[in-house]
């Protein structure tokens, strides 16, 4: 048996977020279900040309 110092001993009713942890562990290896669908780039954005496209708005 391992001796646990008193200041590291948790209350008997310690309640860690097990459900949250399980959810996260499942999600971290998968892309989350609520991810965006592949977006459509704004018109005129072909992925080539200048890196910055800026417009002045009124």
């Amino acid at each position: 048996s391992i001796s646990v110092p008193d200041d590291l001993r948790l209350p008997s009713n310690a309640n860690f977020p097990i459900t949250q942890a399980e959810k996260l562990i499942r999600e971290l290896n998968l892309f989350p279900k609520d991810a965006h669908a592949t977006p459509t780039p704004p018109s005129g954005d072909s992925g080539t040309g200048p890196r910055i496209v800026e417009k002045r708005f009124g």
């Binding site: 200041d7 590291l8 001993r9 948790l10 209350p11 310690a14 309640n15 860690f16 977020p17 949250q20 942890a21 996260l24 999600e27 971290l28 892309f31 989350p32 609520d34 991810a35 965006h36 592949t38 977006p39 459509t40 780039p41 704004p42 018109s43 954005d45 992925g47 890196r51 910055i52 496209v53 800026e54 417009k55 002045r56 708005f57 009124g58």
Partner: protein, 428 residues
């Protein structure tokens, strides 16, 4: 925004408001959306970039509810903000990391998981921005933001400083960085939750003793996470958030961003006007965002950054302030989640050449309009301000004070009455 131009009395084409996309270097297909508001005062004013936290919350939240040039009325018209930070700066709002607000990528690999990725993206963006606006490149540059940006800001400031030292690209005239109600040093800030909650009457003494039992395992887990961990950092996130969740279990529907209020909706505030406004076709056309879906706070980005949450970002700060780059840490006094006590503690615990002098200084009143608006400590490059009568979003709750704070800080006049290193040296 034609209504706005009519109100201002300035023709719309003279307002100098810009929206853009930056195609990120070092990504597969990522685009970063930004808004740029030229100063209402002078093009020679400093360039200020504001980073919203989350992680994954859009910068438009700050534009419309905090320090942007205008706010949204219930009828979805825009109203000038008399205390917008564009009154004293050329102001940039960036939707970052990728997946936030209007920023997007068609490739899932472009999601960012740590401050390395975030700060490199921001640095690359600034290089491109200054290429596009060379007349601004010589202006002073300040990095500001709030909440989880307490992580982004030191990382980005370090990246800029390193880029300057290595003579990479365009020199960026970095003068300072300011963190508002931020999360920077989790080990210290998570320990402060129970002290703050007890002090503010959110929990009782017996709750305090019980919840404090989670502090040692939280500290242990954070140590295992360190500054570069991954799985251990997620574990520490879960363990340490038990402290916060236990407090909220007692606080009920209290708004953890402002304990004087009740939490309304998923973000604790009603931001629905902004969502409606940004989905108007006329606005989307004006901003050039096409059909990109706007998300106020993205759960995808939040989850992608979970390994980053408990990392200590204080470690890079001493090197910056030793090199004369100014740091302002400020906090509204009624915020629980990134409370002033935890922020004050990490600022005081930070090891740098001025630490002893800073800690021994008494706080002085920060006065705006002949009224005490906060309590200030300032020494050398470091300042800490506790802001009265404000929660997590200081520029929303105290717009005039926040603008005055920014203005004085950028001018080096935040604490004109405080002793400075040269004064103390003279005394010795």
């Amino acid at each position: 925004f034609p209504d706005l131009a009519a109100q201002s009395g300035i023709p719309a084409d003279e307002l100098g408001h810009h929206a853009g996309y930056y195609r990120l270097s070092h990504t597969h297909d990522a685009r970063m959306f930004y808004l740029f508001f030229e100063s209402r005062n002078s093009k020679k004013d400093p360039v200020v970039i504001w980073l919203t936290g989350g992680p994954g919350c859009s910068s438009e939240l700050a534009v419309f509810y905090e320090n942007g040039p205008f706010t949204i009325a219930n009828n979805l018209s825009l109203v000038w903000n008399d205390y917008g930070w564009d009154k004293v700066s050329n102001l940039l709002f960036v939707d970052q990391p990728t997946g936030t607000g209007f920023s997007y990528s068609s490739d899932k690999r472009d999601l960012r998981h740590n401050e390395n990725g975030v700060s490199n993206d921001l640095y690359d963006f600034m290089q491109e921005f200054f290429s596009e606006h060379p007349q601004l490149a010589k202006n002073d540059f300040f990095i500001t933001g709030e909440s989880y940006a307490g992580h982004y800001i030191p990382a980005f400031a370090s990246r800029v400083h390193q880029g300057n030292k290595n003579k990479e690209g365009i020199h960026i005239n970095l003068k300072g960085f300011a963190i508002g109600n931020g999360l920077t040093d989790p080990a210290i800030q998570y320990k402060a939750y129970t002290d703050y909650a007890l002090e503010m009457g959110i929990i009782q003494e017996s709750d305090y003793r019980r919840i404090n039992k989670y502090i040692p395992p939280c500290e242990l887990a954070i140590n295992l996470c360190g500054t570069t961990g991954s799985a251990a950092c997620v574990a520490s996130y879960l363990v340490c958030n038990t402290i916060f969740n236990s407090i909220m279990g007692i606080a009920g529907k209290t708004n953890y961003y402002d304990i004087r209020k009740q939490c309304e909706g998923s973000l604790c505030y009603d931001f629905s006007n902004m969502e409606k406004f940004l989905n108007l076709k006329s606005v989307r056309d004006d901003l050039g965002v096409g059909d990109i879906e706007f998300i106020s706070c993205s759960p995808t980005v939040y989850q992608a950054m979970l390994t980053d949450w408990m990392r200590n970002l204080e470690v890079g700060i001493p090197a910056l302030i030793e090199d004369g780059i100014n740091l302002l840490v400020y906090a509204g006094e009624y915020d629980l989640i990134c409370n002033w006590l935890g922020n004050s503690r990490w600022v005081h615990a930070m090891e740098w050449s001025g630490q002893e002098a800073f800690t021994s200084l008494p706080a002085i009143p920060f006065v705006v309009d002949e009224e005490e608006a906060g309590q200030l400590k300032s020494y050398g490059s470091l300042s800490f301000l506790k802001v009265h009568d404000a929660g997590h979003m200081v520029p929303m709750d105290q717009p005039k004070v926040a603008l005055e704070m920014l203005k004085r800080w950028m001018q080096g006049k935040l604490a004109e009455d405080s002793p400075q290193p040269s004064d103390l040296a003279a005394d010795m």
